[in-house]
């Protein structure tokens, strides 16, 4: 044994946590020590706050300007922001499966649940800062004067919380799908179909007719509801009691289920 080997303190993590700390550091560094963080922040600000600004300015003087602007913000958050989460998740898993880096790190003392959880936590945190906190603070500031303080910080935080739950749903869904499939097509296709099918009026017709209960167990009602215009975010933004919390609980449960299935599937993956 060499001198330096004798001085090194070995890691002794066991079970599902083995390698979690190392993998998490690496995943966080991939967010915060590369250009990813500012690219994501910039896109989030341009997309969400840009959309709000355009609608606020465009509708200035009209009676429903404020309502239209906030609806536009939520539509953007519901329909387009999940693309960021889906794309990050599939790059994170599928990209590594394809490039061979997954096989490389998994040949080290790293458990597969730790590998997945590190990605989930780091991406969840990155999305939270870039797509929720930063735009949320900006939305608050943007609405402060035009709404004359109507949208309190708490209400904005509530709406952004629903937005984050929606994002987590698509992040965990895409991660789970990426553990099952080896090509991007099915991961993107299934995730986007779920993101758009419920809210889009021309697709949602058959769902409303044959399986309306899906709206209660999927995140479709959290941010927008073209059919009734009574999305949960509407109630939160106006400080009204929620008519139902089922979609919130169901979405949270889906996130847990998707993560559990992803871990199960990853444990069976062969490289």
């Amino acid at each position: 044994m060499s001198t330096s080997e004798a001085l090194l303190v070995p890691r002794r993590e066991r079970g599902w946590r083995m390698g979690l700390r190392s993998m998490m550091s690496k995943e966080l560094a991939a967010w915060w020590k590369t250009r990813r963080w500012w690219v994501q922040c910039l896109v989030a600000l341009l997309l969400l706050n840009g959309m709000l600004a355009v609608n606020l300015n465009g509708g200035r003087g009209t009676p429903n300007a404020m309502e239209n602007a906030t609806i536009a913000l939520m539509v953007t958050a519901a329909l387009f922001v999940p693309v960021a989460a889906i794309s990050l998740a599939q790059d994170s898993i599928l990209g590594e499966k394809h490039s061979g880096t997954a096989a490389w790190v998994l040949s080290k003392p790293l458990r597969r649940p730790a590998y997945l959880l590190a990605k989930l936590i780091a991406n969840g945190l990155g999305l939270f800062v870039a797509w929720v906190v930063l735009p949320g603070v900006s939305v608050y500031l943007q609405l402060l004067k035009p709404a004359d303080g109507y949208f309190t910080a708490l209400r904005i935080a509530g709406v952004m919380g629903l937005h984050y739950l929606n994002l987590l749903f698509f992040l965990t869904l895409a991660m789970m799908l990426a553990t099952f499939f080896n090509s991007r097509g099915p991961v993107l296709g299934i995730s986007l179909m779920l993101a758009w099918a419920g809210p889009m009026p021309f697709i949602s017709g058959p769902i409303l007719k044959y399986a309306p209960w899906l709206y209660d167990i999927l995140p479709w009602k959290l941010l927008i509801d073209f059919n009734t215009n009574r999305q949960l975010a509407f109630y939160v933004a106006n400080g009204q009691p929620l008519p139902t919390v089922t979609p919130i609980i169901a979405t949270a449960l889906w996130c847990v289920l998707f993560t559990a299935v992803a871990i199960w599937r990853m444990s069976r993956e062969e490289f």
């Binding site: 090194l8 490039s99 080290k108």
Partner: protein, 332 residues
């Protein structure tokens, strides 16, 4: 056929093997990638793992590392079961894959730091020292702070060797370590392996048989998912060598060939060249009989001049090709 070559010492050795597999199998859908592999690797040996493309070498390595699961049989590394105790195995193993890939945005130093973080939690200065000495060892010190994205194939391979042994592994598993290296790089890799020999066991697959002959002390040969030879390199090299003769003649080659083929102790006759002279590689089952009778048999019909006769000295490539060829015949 399975040519098991064991020295007496090997069989008597009570030291546990570093790698030991029992009837290890792997089937992908309907393709049998590995069939009943019984492999043994002794501590502190350099074991060359040979076989044609698709023989099952990488599959075996992946099974040992838990990157794939066996469909039959079992295996132990350091006496630990590859299915149940793979975490413990991976703590003590360094692995270089066939086509090493890293996170492209990381520098070589960051890659090694990241790898080391799976094994050690500190002290930071000692980890940094280990990273630097490993970079030195593989000749990447001057490129340590360049992103891996710009690395050539050879540089990636060197980085692969560095990351594989950052944790002072008890077992180093290298899948084609010299595949994309230039002659100097290959030479350096072999030097590194020689230096590591006293600290670790090295199990490596390769196609470069000269390298195997130079550094390995044991050899395992796989063909079509089956083990066809295993043993100390001297014995594998000796296999077939004592039983092969070369004979070069001028004259009635057809008559000589007919007489030789009719002998029950002649196992095979392979024509090697025909430029006015005819040369054969003759494999026999009885060496003494062959030594005594081959020349008289050749001369028996008259009109024949013996130009050359001798025991065939084979290198590993000859042995490898012969073993693979014979096992292929058995499959047919």
């Amino acid at each position: 056929m399975s040519t098991q070559i064991h020295s007496q010492n090997h069989m008597m050795n009570t030291t546990p093997y570093v790698i030991e597999t029992y009837e290890l199998c792997k089937t992908y859908k309907k393709i049998r990638a590995l069939q009943s592999l019984n492999l043994k690797v002794k501590p502190n040996s350099i074991c060359g793992f040979l076989g044609p493309n698709g023989a099952g070498k990488t599959t075996t390595i992946k099974l040992l590392l838990g990157l794939a699961q066996p469909t039959g049989g079992s295996a132990q590394v350091f006496g630990k079961d590859i299915r149940k105790e793979n975490d413990e195995i991976r703590r003590r193993v360094g692995y270089l894959s066939q086509d090493p890939r890293y996170y492209e945005y990381m520098t070589a130093r960051q890659t090694l730091r990241f790898t080391a973080s799976f094994f050690y939690k500190g002290p930071r200065a000692v980890i940094e020292q280990r990273v630097s000495e490993t970079l030195d060892l593989v000749g990447l010190a001057d490129k340590a702070d360049r992103p891996v994205k710009g690395f050539s194939g050879g540089e990636r391979q060197r980085l692969g060797i560095a990351q594989a042994q950052i944790n002072y592994p008890d077992l180093l598993i290298l899948d084609e370590p010299a595949a994309s290296l230039d002659p100097q790089g290959r030479h350096d890799v072999l030097d590194v392996m020689e230096r590591l020999r006293k600290h670790t066991t090295i199990f490596y697959s390769t196609h470069i048989l000269d390298d195997v002959q130079r550094v390995s002390d044991t050899v395992v040969i796989l063909n079509k998912g089956e083990l066809v030879a295993q043993g100390p390199i001297e014995e594998v090299l000796a296999w077939g060598q004592a039983d092969s003769f070369t004979l070069t003649i001028k004259g009635d080659s057809l008559g000589v060939e007919t007489r030789l083929r009719s002998q029950p102790w002649v196992r095979s006759l392979e024509e090697m060249s025909r430029n006015g002279r005819v040369s054969w590689l003759i494999r026999v089952s009885d060496r003494e009989l062959a030594e005594a009778k081959l020349v008289p048999l050749a001369l028996a019909g008259g009109g024949v001049t013996i130009c050359e006769f001798g025991c065939k000295t084979q290198n590993l490539e000859d042995v490898f090709l012969n073993i693979v060829k014979e096992s292929n015949h058995e499959y047919k």
